[in-house]
């Protein structure tokens, strides 16, 4: 399949690197509902890829397929060029794919360190939790992301603001030498200042060489942090752009009226609106 009509070479921040994560012809149906149809999608190291589309376009479904929550019906996922099968969240994590879910999935009664290491706690001798080591790593990770507003990493996350919680969830995702970080609507519930915090964080992830996928309904945010954007419409990839080459109006047009190729059985007819 072609990468459609978008001028996708010479990525300014990706340095033209090969994609770390690539989906080819991925389809997913829930019974009669075709949630994804022949979707191609790729993201390279250092790239911040926005994934946009109307409600029900299939964005969350695409993410869940990558995260191993839904098995794909058709197509193939490649990681660092190799075809991979992802059967559950643990498989995805092993590859270095981390997802920040919209509802964050933090345990309110646990502190910042405990949440960041949840399910992957480190132990020293006698199967004793290595609290010192974990606290140090968590502090370092937060510092490397310039998260400075959290008073103590030993306070429970219940006492954190929305933006701080989001920062913790993101830090949790990047701590594991992850290569791909996927964020589902990370700013949806945040105020202006906190949105800024999180967007800065996302941009820094890209600068650090991670491949970042960010789902958002807010085109303003997309233009602010992303360098590439993929538009889904009714489960199909209808457009890919470099953010530098496109206007908000063009993206809105693609979201609402992007030309579909949906004639099942007649694949490879990818069309792009411009």
């Amino acid at each position: 399949m072609s990468t459609a009509a978008s001028p996708s070479d010479s990525r300014e921040s990706g340095g033209g690197a090969a994609p770390v994560l690539e989906l080819k012809g991925v389809s997913k149906s829930f019974g009669a509902v075709q949630a994804l149809y022949q979707v191609d999608f790729a993201v390279a190291p250092g790239q911040v890829m926005a994934l946009v589309g109307d409600n029900g376009a299939g964005k969350s479904t695409l993410i869940k397929c990558i995260a191993g929550i839904h098995p794909i019906s058709d197509g193939q996922i490649f990681f660092e060029g190799q075809p991979v099968d992802i059967h559950g969240p643990k498989d995805a994590a092993k590859l270095g794919i981390e997802v920040v879910y919209q509802d964050l999935a933090l345990a309110d009664n646990l502190d910042v360190v405990q949440n960041m290491f949840l399910g992957r706690e480190e132990v020293s001798s006698l199967r004793r939790l290595d609290e010192t080591g974990m606290e140090k790593k968590a502090t370092d990770t937060l510092a490397s992301l310039s998260v400075t507003t959290i008073r103590s990493v030993r306070q429970t996350v219940a006492g954190l603001s929305g933006g701080q919680r989001q920062s913790v969830a993101v830090a949790k995702a990047v701590m594991w030498n992850s290569k791909v970080v996927i964020l589902d609507e990370p700013t949806a519930a945040l105020g202006v200042a906190q949105t800024r915090q999180v967007l800065d964080l996302v941009r820094r992830l890209g600068q650090q060489g991670l491949a970042v996928v960010i789902v958002s309904h807010n085109l303003h945010d997309v233009f602010e942090v992303a360098d590439h954007v993929t538009v889904l419409r009714l489960g199909q990839n209808v457009a890919e752009y470099r953010v530098a080459d496109v206007t908000q109006t063009q993206i809105v047009e693609a979201i609402t009226a992007g030309t579909l190729s949906k004639v099942p059985g007649q694949a490879d007819a990818e069309v792009v609106t411009a």
């Binding site: 969240p89 999935a105 345990a107 132990v123 010192t132 080591g133 140090k136 937060l142 959290i150 008073r151």
Partner: protein
């Protein structure tokens, strides 16, 4: 943040600044937490002091060394069973079957020891009863997680069924008198005075070594350690309480053997809850099961293990009770065992809503309940009065929990 403060210096110094705080800063922060609804063990200590003052003013036998030793022995079974209940409450679940599970374990132990029957060694009989307890809990856990029946229903069925099993086991024999010295000695033997002192001094020294070592490791890793005076205060408090207990108990019969067993269990389970992966996962499942699942934690396995632990501790409680009474009768496991054990955990400060609590709460709560029971007994008041007062104390404890939850919600810490 006000304009006068240079907002958020871009260094991780904010996290390390706590190292230079003094004792006063810690006290202030603690008080702020209390006001925000994080009460910790504060209400229970206040409660114990009030209880001591009230009963002592009514009957000066309450605060005697003899009664102190009685109180420990009376509370022992509730402490053991309450420790198991704490695990279940941390998940936000409940176990109503612990009373009769303890009865089943007591009956089995008695039967296995019968001199005209199996006549097994004490160690084997106790191990068998504990294993049966763990098996019962595993069964409960599997029904709850794999079949999907609420724990309330599964353990309510257990409450009825295990009562039946007690009757099936020993109803035709009536009361079985325990004759094994070791099992009877479990609740009725005491440490020699000298031994008790050696154990106490060793325990205090180990506690001090652990705290100081933790400080050393943390400061080596450049992490905040809190003021040295706070560490010293904690060590001193621990030692003073421990030595006071030994000194008072030694004036009478001494430290009951069962107290040593409970102390070991207390340390062991506290270690499991606070310092192991499993314990961390228990808190996580109780706090947000979905988050735990997405973090790759096997939620069902954690729950099954917790119900197994709970029933095993209930079994131990049953053995302690049988040992104290030197016999088992068909009423074993009934009476106040279930309600007092759950009440102990809750009064001690473990939340019914899951995710908050610790093993210490079972110990403190059982002491409160045993004190009320014991004190009202000394005053010669009827069982009726005892139950009304205990019920009111439980209500007060749950009210404190609910109100402090609201406080946390208002201060954004719920």
């Amino acid at each position: 943040m006000s304009a006068t403060a240079p907002a958020n210096t871009p260094s991780p110094a904010a996290a390390t600044s706590a190292a230079s705080d003094g004792l006063g800063d810690h006290a202030r922060r603690w008080w702020a937490d209390v006001r925000a609804g994080d009460l910790g063990s504060l209400p229970i200590f206040v409660g114990l002091i009030i209880i001591a003052i009230v009963f002592q003013s009514q009957n000066d036998r309450f605060l005697t060394s003899g009664n102190f030793v009685n109180l420990i022995v009376q509370a022992a079974a509730f402490i053991a069973i309450g420790m198991g209940i704490v695990f279940v409450l941390l998940l936000g679940e409940i176990d109503l079957s612990v009373g009769y599970v303890s009865g089943v374990a007591g009956s089995l132990t008695a039967l296995l020891l019968l001199e005209d029957g199996a006549s097994l060694p004490a160690g084997v009989a106790i191990a068998a009863a504990l294993a049966l307890g763990a098996a019962i809990g595993t069964l409960h856990g599997v029904l709850i997680t794999k079949v999907g029946i609420p724990s309330f229903v599964v353990t309510l069925a257990g409450l009825i069924a295990w009562n039946g099993v007690v009757l099936l086991l020993i109803a035709d024999r009536g009361t079985i008198v325990l004759q094994n010295d070791l099992v009877v000695g479990f609740s009725n033997d005491f440490l020699a005075d000298g031994t008790a002192w050696i154990v106490a001094v060793a325990a205090a020294a180990i506690y001090a070594a652990l705290l100081l070592n933790e400080r050393r490791v943390r400061s080596a890793a450049n992490l905040p350690t809190g003021p040295m005076s706070l560490t010293a205060l904690r060590i001193a408090t621990f030692a003073v309480i421990l030595f006071a207990v030994v000194a008072i108990a030694n004036q009478d019969r001494g430290i009951p053997f069962v107290l040593v067993v409970l102390a070991v269990l207390f340390l062991g389970w506290t270690f499991v809850l606070n310092r192991t992966r499993f314990g961390r996962h228990v808190y996580a499942v109780g706090g947000n099961a979905e988050a735990a699942r997405r973090a790759g934690i096997d939620v069902d396995r954690v729950k099954i293990a917790v119900f197994a632990i709970c029933s095993m501790m209930a079994a131990l409680g049953g053995i302690i009770l049988a040992s104290r009474l030197r016999s088992v009768d068909p009423g074993a496991g009934g009476g106040q065992i279930l309600l007092y054990s759950i009440a102990a955990a809750v009064i001690g400060g473990t939340s019914l809503f899951g995710g908050r609590g610790n093993i210490k709460s079972a110990v403190l709560g059982a002491l409160v309940i045993a004190s009320i029971d014991n004190g009202l007994g000394l005053l010669g008041l009827s069982s009726g009065t005892k139950f009304v007062v205990t019920g009111l104390v439980l209500l007060a404890a749950v009210t404190v929990d609910s109100v402090s939850r609201k406080g946390r919600a208002q201060s954004g810490r719920a």
